[in-house]
């Protein structure tokens, strides 16, 4: 009997508590500012992802070994930095981000296998990964079958769009057209010579560039040359360039070939301060290998340069160097990789959920004001609105910003009239 009064006191409290719990599912419908505590796991994760009350797991999937490690190392570093910074700010929906890193080993089937492992075994909420188009094409069916979310950092040839991928780099038209317009206007360029590595990205990019030069700029393509990946001898094509004397050399040579191409161009006496050269494949990362003295004066068309003068970039560059060493340089793709975790965090918070379907639906319109490139927004087609910029390579391996588009350029992965 003596317990009775106590029970009487407690029961209204308990009743309230029960009522509160019953109302929990409704919380997700409230604006997120209305609660300070992290939302319950059962509410933000209805599909069995690796989300606990304190942690959420994402995957990082790049090549840390093999040929592509040269390029992908920067992306891995940028993604780790972004994750660390997000965690320092309190994480995503009150949960710290934990990452599992897998090595694609520059081998496309390995990429697919590791993506499957991350989605099926580890149940990661998102994957930051892939670099080459070949690795993305290998991973894409896995992402679609197991309904994962991939944040893909590299500028690429376009002609793709998936519910399960956010493309944080530029597609081809975003990268090429504004640059060609600029050089045609600035240098009065009428004749162009294309040199590329022989695979899908340069071929698609050059196809778009050729249509633009011929149909829009009313210019002429005086040569279009492809060399196998890894080719190290460019003297013949350099002689052809000397013979045809184009106003602009337009290049998308990649990898080790890049180094050989610019060294031999310099050795052949082509002075890039007099001969205009526009590249869409050289970032600060590549110049490290090429050597500033071999490429100084060339123009590169990108959306980000390490030397960009804006408040976001002024905090990003020192943070990156602090984490990865004073000597590291930051190229266009590294910056795009840095956007991945941030865009994912912002989208999760907008959707109020880690569920992939909700993230895919909430992605369009998500904007990231803290991007080192300035400001980006996700388009309905899951690519980013971003500016196109032209920089001139300097002796010290950095770019000097020469031109940027006034407005954000709309991503157009299936450009009409260019196919």
């Amino acid at each position: 009997m003596s317990d009775e009064p106590n029970k009487g006191l407690l029961s209204p409290l308990r009743r309230k508590l029960l009522m509160g719990m019953a109302a929990l599912p409704a919380i997700t419908m409230l604006p997120k500012a209305s609660f300070a505590q992290a939302p319950a796991t059962s509410a933000v994760n209805t599909t069995g992802l690796a989300v606990t009350d304190t942690e959420v797991t994402v995957g990082i999937l790049h090549s840390a070994t093999g040929t592509m490690a040269i390029s992908e190392t920067g992306s891995i570093e940028a993604e780790k930095l972004a994750i660390e910074q997000i965690n320092a700010m309190g994480g995503v929906l009150g949960r710290k981000i934990k990452f599992i890193q897998e090595d694609g080993a520059s081998d496309w089937p390995t990429f697919a296998e590791k993506a499957k492992k991350l989605l099926v075994n580890d149940k990661v909420a998102a994957i930051m990964g892939c670099w080459t188009s070949a690795s993305r094409k290998a991973v894409l069916p896995v992402m679609e079958q197991y309904n994962g979310m991939l944040y893909y950092p590299t500028f690429y040839e376009g002609l793709e769009q998936s519910k399960n991928v956010i493309y944080t780099g530029q597609e081809a038209t975003q990268q090429i057209l504004a640059g060609l317009n600029w050089i045609a206007k600035e240098k009065g360029a009428k004749s162009f010579f294309f040199v590329g590595s022989d695979y899908i990205w340069p071929r698609t990019s050059n196809k778009i560039a050729r249509k633009h030069v011929e149909n829009v700029l009313k210019g002429k393509v005086v040569g279009e040359e492809y060399y196998p990946l890894g080719n190290t001898q460019f003297n013949s094509v350099i002689n052809k360039i000397k013979l045809t004397k184009p106003d602009v050399i337009f290049t998308d040579v990649v990898g080790g070939s890049n180094v050989a191409f610019y060294k031999q161009l310099k050795a052949a006496g082509i002075d890039l301060s007099k001969q205009a050269l526009l590249t869409i494949s050289v970032t600060e990362d590549e110049i490290d290998g090429i050597g500033g003295e071999n490429i100084a004066g060339a123009y590169a068309c990108m959306k980000y340069f390490q030397s960009l003068d804006n408040p976001n970039n002024k905090t990003f560059v020192p943070a990156f160097k602090k984490m990865w060493g004073e000597k590291t340089v930051i190229g266009d793709v590294t910056q795009a990789a840095y956007l991945g975790p941030w865009l994912w965090k912002l989208t999760v918070e907008k959707a109020g959920s880690f569920d992939v379907d909700k993230i895919a639906a909430a992605s369009p319109g998500v904007e990231f004001k803290g991007a080192p490139e300035g400001y980006v927004r996700i388009h309905e087609n899951h690519h980013l609105w971003s500016k196109t910029r032209v920089g001139r390579a300097k002796l010290d391996g950095q770019f000097e910003l020469i031109f940027e588009t006034a407005d954000l350029v709309e991503p157009d992965p299936f450009p009409k009239g260019y196919q």
Partner: protein
Amino acid sequence: MFGDYSIGDLGSIFVMQGFAGLILFSVYVLMALGLAIIFGQMGVINMAHGEFMILGAYVTWMTSNLFQTYLPSLFSGYFFLAMILAFVASGALGMLVEWVLIRHLYKRPLDTLLATWGLSLILQQAFRSVFGAREVGVDLPQWMLGSLHVTESIEVPINGVFVMCLTVLITVGVAYVMYKSRWGRQVRAVVQNRIMAGAVGINTEKVDRYTYGLGCGIAGVAGSAFTMIGSTGPTSGQLYIVDTFLVVVFGGAASLLGTIASAFSISQTQSTLEFFMSGSMAKVLTLLAVVGILMLRPQGLFALKVRK
């Protein structure tokens, strides 16, 4: 395609294209020499050849950094020291590898293929762990950059001329060592009849080790020279290995002269074709020609006449 150009223009382009072919020829000879010695004289298929080259390239890079930091006044001459160091480093590693790995596999030539391929993967990852996954840029002294103006419109790249001179020097050196010196005689004796050579008192194990070391050392020098024209990264060696084997096999494995002849014909075919069509197509046609000739003449262009 030539209608729009003046005779003078075309003339200078043909001269420069001729030089381009010669430069390609020297590059091929330089990268194939080391392999020709190892493959030709010892029958070892050295898949790690490219990595020995890149070791030489990294040694060059380190030397250039050292000179820039401590001896900036002597920087213009560092390249010669770098090539010697590259030879020593790659040669020493080659001898070590021979002692640890290769000498146990002489009776199983196909296994050397697998073992040296594994070695190449190990070396690649070692480069990556030590020097980082990114490519490094090797700074060259000013006099090695740019081109020589022969006439108003003919320009010849200095680094190309440098590679050509180096190739001639090394080829002459190797030919002398192989065909004139006492040690070369021992090497040839071991190749022709290992048991007999041992019986007359030649230390065949030692000869093997030094032969392998010499081949790797030359690869190191080649790698050092190629910092002028190509990239230096953990996997850059892979860029050369296919062409290298092509040259050696086409030339006939055991013949130095064959290697040179094959490098010459492949490079001239390729650079001539490259001028008239795209680089990829030129490569395809060159490879087709090589395959065709090897079908008719499986032993390669020049083969030693040995009694079987």
